[in-house]
Amino acid sequence: MQNRRSSVDKGRTISRRLFILTGAKLLLLGGITSRLYNLQISDREKYEILSDKNRIREWKTPPQRGIITDYFNNILADNDRVFQVHLSLDEVNNFDQTLFRLKNILNLSNNQTKKIYKKKEKLKPWDTLVVSDNIEWNEFSKLNLYLHELEGVKPVVSSSRYYPYGNSSVHVVGYVGDASLKDIERMEEIKENLVPGLKVGKSGIEYSNEKLLIGKYGIKRYEVNSSGKRISQIDYVKESQGVKIKTTIDLEIQKFAQELLIGKAGSICAMDIYTGEIIAMASSPTYDPNKFTHGINHKDWNEIRDNPLKPFVNKSIAGLYSPGSTFKPLVALAALEYNILNPNLKVRCKGHIEMYGQKYHCWKDKGHGYMSLRNAIKQSCDIYFYEMARKLGVDKLAVVAKKYGLGSSILGDVYFDEKKGLVPNTEWKRNNLGRGWLLGETIINGIGQGYIQTTPLQLCLMTAQLANGGYKINPHIISDENISFEDIKSKIQKDIESLKLSSKEDQRDTYSPIRLYKNSKNIKFILEAMFASTNEPGGTSFRSRYDNKKYQFAGKTGTSQVRRITEAERELDLKQSQILYKNRDHALYIAFAPYKDPRYAISVLVEHGGSGGKTAAPLASKLIKKIIDRHELREQIRKRIANLA
């Protein structure tokens, strides 16, 4: 009986214990279920993102750079097909072995392989290594033969910057190279588009217009497994090309100007005097920008860097020179505008003059005799200008010079290396040199020597703004369709006509062009004197003239001293060819053409070229013919664009 009861007890105990256990189980089950609910329903999105992060990996494809053309749509900066060798690190089993094979097939140097190892260190294990970004076609086809035994090696046909007229266009367009840390920090767009082998602008328009040119990278999305191996392509967002940039340059004239400067150091600029379009901006010596695209080698780099004629300096905008006698038209204009002197005033030139106890020389030792202002400009008599500058004073001269564009940047931020130059006045000297202005300095300033510093492009702009009747224009090198020649020309015409009716200022409206003069007779006088300088016997550039009215131009020579000439040297009367190259005078020339109804202004500078009349004017003469010959063609294009707009 007892056993039976005990047995019943035991059965009850077991059942009770099971009941408690079941309760515990249900609790635990609830725990599991709520955890599942948490993971799969509440936090689902979070884990979905994590799962996609696991399985999807993106590869950026390089953007297509926008092209740069001249005014006639000739391509100055193109994207060329190049053959590259890429290495997908995630697919390579034995990196050393693969690279060794590649080295033999592509004939890589030890130096190059070292660089590749360095590059590899910076990459992630699934990145693509660019082994070579530009190989020859025959190497490329050879590589394709061995491809089956080279895991992870990918021959890629890619695009890369190419400058078809590299030497002629480099100072306008600039060049590209691999993005450096500085580039990446400079611009968000570069950082965003950064892919192995991305090229970015390093100078010129390529640099300043990076934002427009760079384009937008593409994305290839792949599904990858846990070891990073690509399983399948999910998605491909195609890369897009940057904006096309059209310049105002005429490639033919640019090339011609560049040819004129071969063997010399110097600059040639040409500009439309109404629209301000820069038609040519040559600088010599030049270099091949294509060499920089895939990394320049040491030899080429040293050659360019060590060239004493400084190929890297864009002399048109970054070269600073004393304008010499090319400054004289502006000095004369200033004197007339301020009513300093009567143009008929005669000054006697004996070849030298004593002022403030100092002896000042004219370029012509024997002297010009009695000079009027017109003759003084025509024959570039220094004595006359000494006298005029003395009366005018430096501050008034500076006002006029600045008005015409000297002493300030012309193209804004298109070229980071553009220089402002310097138009001195008394205040400037006091503030910057801490000394008072000397009267003797005014005197040499009158012939464009002394502190004054200008770039060739500034001189070109100055000439253009004189030649168009004294109106301010907007110089530019990147084509702007909103600027209409007809519009500007007719406004200037109207302004000149309104002048004849009444000379009162207040009748002008805000849409009128900005006058840079007080009395238009003064401008006419200067232009006429410049005509004489070129087209009348005794003028300094008489030998470079054209009799044909179509090409006939007016200009002004300039010969700027690079150092003071001592009395002893003056006695020797050496010819330029007998002086050391670096001590020779710079030759300058400014001109506008055609004289009747002018349209273009040019400036020519030849460093250490001797006299402006002998060296610079003949180049200008050739260039002007070329420009006039191409005028019709340019007009056609211009009208077509105007019609489209």
Binding site: N3, S6, S7, D9, K10, G11, T13, I14, S15, R17, L18, L21, T22, K25, L28, L29, G31, I32, T33, R35, L36, Y37, L39, Q40, I41, D43, R44, K46, Y47, E48, L50, S51, N54, R55, E223, V224, N225, S226, S227, I231
Partner: protein, 376 residues
């Protein structure tokens, strides 16, 4: 003397077929079918090595389960200690001559099968303890003498399994044993005291753990401690389950698994794969099937007459719950990663064998439910 205590009834074969628990069989078939699809998915939908092996084992051991069901429950009663000793013997053999794989020595080569004796021990412990407590009176249970022997019976196999090392299985063996001691009616205070003792000795236990075990435990508390190393499994498992959402990514579409982010997806992490592809709905369904299985085993236990069979059924049901709970909690990041397979679902012959063997004993309890084993 022993046979005197047994009272066996006579059954015709038809009777036996009639009382077979078809409900249980259907649930086993359902879980088995799901497991085949899951393993098939681990091979990205190709009928390869794992799927083939798993299917063969499932079918073989399922037939074995049906066949062994007809062994009289009294046979198991009589040979409970022998079964335990055989398993212990194999564990000792493993200790000296076992096959080593991925750093632990767990298997013994039986030519047709690499047997993992620790898996069998999970069943043997339940059988052995059921037999032991079958005889112990309720009043004697609290006696130290009757507490001492089961503890020895439990500690020896656990120690041998930990030596392999295989912490997961050792915990499951210990857990199964403790569950039966609980069911038999040992006073609650012993459980509380030993729990406290465990807590106090935890620092000491941790100090003798192997470095990889320590790192697993530390990783459990903070998986981001070493996301590519020790924490990798649990992080990837949570990502897989979480990204499955309510309906799952679809059969064969579990990206975490076919892109090989998921470790051990055939064995311990099979639930993760299933949950990724079939979502919350699928997971709950599978859990429900396990609950049904456990419920069925328990309800069989209610209708058997002997304490041995009752203790066995309740014990086995609780053990299955323990296996499922430990495995799923582990892949959900609720428990540290210790090797513990999911019954029937996980790939692995010994685990399948032990579950099917355990089920056949349950079935035997049902078929021979009228057999009486006297308690004294």
């Amino acid at each position: 003397m022993l046979t005197e205590r047994l009272h066996t009834s006579k059954y015709s074969f038809l009777d036996k077929l009639k009382v077979l628990d078809y409900f249980l069989i259907i649930i086993v078939i359902l879980i088995g079918a799901i497991s085949v699809f899951a393993i098939y998915s681990t091979e990205s939908g190709e009928f390869l090595y794992y799927t083939k092996n798993h299917l063969i084992r499932l079918v073989t051991f399922f037939l074995m389960f049906l066949f062994l069901s007809f062994i009289r429950i009294t046979f198991w009663y009589q040979n409970a200690y022998i079964f335990y000793l055989i398993c212990l013997f194999f564990l000792i053999i493993v200790l000296f001559f076992g096959i080593t794989a991925s750093g632990s020595q767990r298997w013994v080569n039986l030519y047709f099968l690499n047997l993992q004796p620790s898996e069998l021990m999970k069943i043997a412990v339940i059988v052995c303890f059921a037999r032991y407590y079958h005889r112990v009176q309720t009043t004697d249970i609290q006696n130290y003498k009757f507490l001492f022997i089961p503890l020895i019976l439990l500690i020896i196999p656990c120690y041998l399994v930990i030596r392999q090392p295989d912490l997961g299985t050792a915990i499951l063996i210990a857990g199964s044993g403790i569950l039966i001691i609980w069911l038999a009616g040992l006073n609650l205070k012993y459980f509380v005291y030993s729990g406290l003792l465990l807590l106090v000795s935890l620092p000491f236990v941790i100090s003798i753990l192997k470095p990889y075990q320590k790192s697993r435990i530390l990783t459990f508390f903070n998986p981001d401690r070493d996301p590519l190393g020790a924490g990798y499994q649990i992080i990837q498992s949570k990502i897989a389950i979480g990204s499955g959402g309510f309906f799952g990514k679809g059969f064969l579409k579990g990206t975490q698994s076919y892109l090989e982010f998921l470790p051990e997806k055939h064995t311990d992490f099979i639930f993760t794969l299933f949950s990724e592809e079939f979502g919350f709905l699928g997971s709950i369904t599978l859990l429900f099937l396990y609950i049904l299985l456990i419920y069925r085993v328990i309800s069989i236990g209610f209708f058997v007459r002997s304490f041995f069979a009752k203790l066995y059924c309740f014990g086995f049901a609780s053990a299955i719950f323990l296996y499922v709970f430990v495995n799923i909690s582990m892949v959900l990041g609720l428990l540290p990663i210790v090797g513990a397979p999911l019954p029937i679902m996980s790939y692995g012959g010994s685990s399948m064998l032990s579950i099917m063997l355990g089920l056949s004993i349950v079935m035997s309890c049902k078929i021979y439910s009228q057999d009486q084993i006297r308690n004294y």
